[in-house]
């Protein structure tokens, strides 16, 4: 059986469609955003409703420096993609390294904050509603940061090993979209937890 090929009467102009990677990442971001919306809703709903235990304003200190680091890492990853497009591989790798460093600083601060909350303020996930919603929301975000850091580190390793060329620029851009999403979520989480919630 011959495969039918409808013959066009006029030739089709340039046929452009969006990039699969970008659309796929946009879909993932949509789904993940919906998950975060539910955790944020639970956090906001339970504000002030804990029956016992430490309250947000008792124990929370806004992590300004960590936030600045994380948000700057969005800028560094953007430059990394830009440099890769311009075929300046080494510079792209440096910007990528800066991104990983800034992200790791953020995680480090989160770790210290949690250590302090658990050991000096007695706030755990099972203490009260605040503890449950705080650790779930911030923890969900931190786990997304960790996954992003792993992926960025892999990209960095491949860069250093000389395997990355300008043809990978779009893939790096897809990864950077994920990283921008993680940062945008932090803006929301920071606002909800450390500004509205306190």
């Amino acid at each position: 059986m011959t495969t039918a090929v409808p013959v066009p009467h006029q030739p089709v102009e340039e046929w452009h469609q969006p990039s699969r990677g970008i659309v796929g990442m946009a879909c993932l971001i949509t789904a993940e955003s919906a998950i975060f919306v539910i955790f944020v809703t639970a956090y906001l709903y339970y504000l002030g409703k804990s029956l016992t235990g430490p309250a947000p304003h008792d124990v929370l200190d806004a992590p300004i420096f960590a936030t600045v680091c994380l948000l700057s890492s969005s800028i560094t990853v953007h430059f990394s993609v830009h440099e890769l497009r311009a075929v300046r591989i080494a510079r792209s790798a440096w910007w990528l390294a800066a991104t990983v460093l800034l992200g790791s600083i953020f995680i480090g601060f989160t770790a210290f904050e949690w250590y302090d909350l658990i050991n000096h303020h007695g706030l755990t996930i099972s203490t009260n509603l605040f503890g449950t919603t705080f650790y779930s929301l911030v923890g969900l975000h931190a786990s997304h940061v960790l996954v992003g850091l792993i992926l960025l580190s892999l990209a960095l390793i491949f860069s250093i090993a000389g395997k990355v060329t300008e043809h990978h620029a779009e893939r790096l851009e897809v990864l950077s979209l994920y990283w921008h999403f993680v940062d945008a979520v932090w803006v929301v989480v920071f606002t909800v937890v450390y500004i509205i919630g306190r």
Binding site: P6, V23, C27, A34, I38, F39, Y45, I125, S126, N128
Partner: protein, 562 residues
């Protein structure tokens, strides 16, 4: 080449190993495949197995309820039956079968060679499959209050605080949570694939306004999955935190809210039923025109109505919570939004009828199921509108009227269209026609059984029979109705078994189907049956919504009318 009993034992061993080698090779090919067609077929077969299992669970329940004060199963077993029946049917029959058809058809219909992310496609299938196996493993590994080996028994909505560790000890609830969590990840992956494929891989000339309506509906379904399944994923994580890390999300003793679980679950649960029904509409959009010999009436309105349904379905969830006490304002809002969605759904019904009007109707088996759908779906919608009126719902919430309503949609609309899709696309997938006589038997037995069961099920509901009760007193006046409802189940069971037999027998003995047995117009009918693994030797270029019509009628192409 003869393979009679050889005298030489060495040759015998070689032939046996060659056969086993071929068998292993066959298995290996299917387990490692990333071909959307094979993955689609695996989804469908997987779902069919679970359809039979969940159907058996329904039959056991109907035997128990056929007469008053029955002792066929214990109340504990009955609780597990309705939990497993609901959970299985939604997550391991409905979703997989509809994703299976989507996987198979979407790339073919848009002139692509595969999905956008084939390995993600395979991953999504296998993780969903694992979820189903995990749920049924609970029968062996569940342990808990009732002794070793029990499945979840908390209802398919698993309301808090029943699901708290203290009220549901053991692991049966955890099997429910984790299996749905994994199935959700698979669903999100497949939805991602559908959206990316549709937006990025259409063949030249196939603008969005020229896509088959099935592809449009799967696109909206995909987006809906992102927005609906994700809240359920979040809620499952919260439930696990409550059960294992001492969290208090739904712990009423610590100030938590059981109603919050209800909100989160139904924010998933309502759009979920639209995720299930939109593919059913998609099948109707393809089958009705072909067997009316007319192009679909009102393509732009169909697209707009679908997008409208998608949006509004996200705003109606609390019509499942009218009896919780949300207040007059909330009840009024959700009544209004639920009624609003009926307008958009109505537009689709009118357009299907308008397509039939003046057409040359061919009553193939697929068309019979579709016409039944066209009657049954509006009827289901009408009982839905009745329930959307919150004071009316206060009388009938949690009664058999609600059970009758949603089964009318799930079975009367969705399952009927799934059957239609089988009869329509089985020739494409296997190269054989399904037997028409068996098809007719399947159809009529199933219609009789469906109406016996679900038409009459509304009555005990109105007479006050609650759902999820394992038995009832003889003096309630419900006995005769329950007996009729249960009798319908027998017809449906026989019909489905005939259908399963038809599927198997026709694979080996069915009439060979050519590439285009129905004289249809979309691109999947331009390939051989079954299609080659690469789908199209040459990627087609299209100029209208019905590329094969243009090909078959070059003197009267659709492009001059669009």
């Amino acid at each position: 080449m003869a393979t009679q009993t050889p005298a030489n034992p060495i040759t015998e061993t070689t032939l046996r190993l060659r056969r086993r080698g071929r068998m292993l090779q066959f298995l290996h090919e299917w387990i490692t495949t990333v071909d959307h067609k094979k993955i689609g077929i695996m989804y469908i077969l997987y779902a069919l197995v679970f359809l039979l299992i969940a159907g058996l669970e329904a039959i056991l329940m109907r035997i128990q309820l056929a007469v008053p004060n029955n002792t066929f199963v214990s109340p504990q077993v009955f609780n597990r039956l309705f939990t497993m029946h609901g959970t299985t049917m939604v997550f391991f029959v409905g979703m997989p079968i509809l994703f299976g058809f989507g996987n198979y058809l979407v790339p073919l219909m848009i002139g692509a060679r595969d999905m956008a992310f084939p390995r993600l496609n395979a991953f999504s299938f296998w993780i969903s499959a694992f979820g189903g196996l995990l749920l049924y493993f609970s029968y062996f590994g569940g342990s808990g209050l009732y002794g070793a080996g029990s499945a979840p028994d908390v209802g398919w909505w698993a309301y808090a605080p029943l699901t708290a560790r203290v009220f549901s000890p053991g692991h049966s609830t955890d099997y429910w949570t984790l299996s749905i969590f994994l199935s959700g990840i698979g669903s999100i992956g497949t939805a991602l694939n559908l959206v990316a494929t549709t937006l990025c891989m259409r063949c030249p000339g196939m603008k969005l306004s020229r896509m088959p309506l099935l592809v449009w509906l799967y696109l909206v379904t995909g987006v809906l999955v992102f927005l609906a399944v994700s809240p359920l994923t979040a809620a499952q994580i919260m439930l696990c935190i409550d059960r294992y890390l001492g969290g208090h999300f739904f712990d009423t003793q610590a100030g938590g809210s059981a109603v919050l679980w209800m909100h989160f679950f139904w924010i998933f649960g309502h759009p979920e039923v639209y995720v299930l029904v939109l593919p059913a509409f998609a099948f109707a959009n393809e089958i009705v025109p072909v067997f009316s010999r007319k192009a679909i009436f009102g393509y732009p309105a169909m697209v707009s109505a679908t997008v409208g349904i998608g949006f509004i379905s996200l705003t109606v969830w609390a019509h499942h919570m009218f009896t919780v006490g949300l207040g007059a304002g909330a009840n009024a809002f959700f009544t209004f939004s639920t009624m609003l969605i009926a307008i958009f759904t109505g537009i689709k019904i009118f357009n299907w009828v308008a397509t039939l009007w003046g057409g040359n109707i061919h009553f193939t088996t697929a068309m019979k199921f579709t016409i039944a759908f066209l009657f049954q779906f509006p009827a289901a919608g009408l009982t839905g509108i009745m329930l959307s009126v919150s004071p009316f719902d206060w009388q009938l919430s949690h009664s058999y009227f609600v059970v009758a309503h949603f089964h009318y949609v799930l079975v009367g609309a969705i399952l009927f269209m799934i059957f239609a899709a089988f009869y329509f696309w089985y020739p494409k997938m296997t190269g054989r026609m399904l037997n028409d006589t068996l098809g007719s038997w399947h159809f009529w037995l199933f219609v009789i059984g469906f109406h016996l069961t679900f038409d009459f099920m509304h009555i005990p509901g109105m007479l006050g029979m609650p759902r999820r009760i394992y038995t009832y007193e003889a003096d309630r006046g419900w006995a005769i109705w329950n007996m009729i409802v249960s009798s319908g189940a027998v017809f449906q069971a026989v019909a489905v078994l005939l259908f399963a037999w038809n599927l198997v027998r026709s694979y080996f003995k069915g009439d060979p189907a050519g590439p285009d047995p129905w004289d249809a117009w979309t691109l999947e009918w331009s390939t051989s049956s079954p299609p080659p693994s690469y789908n199209f030797a040459v990627i087609p270029t299209v100029e209208s919504r019905r590329p094969l019509w243009d090909l078959k009628h070059p003197e009267d192409p659709d492009s001059q009318y669009e």
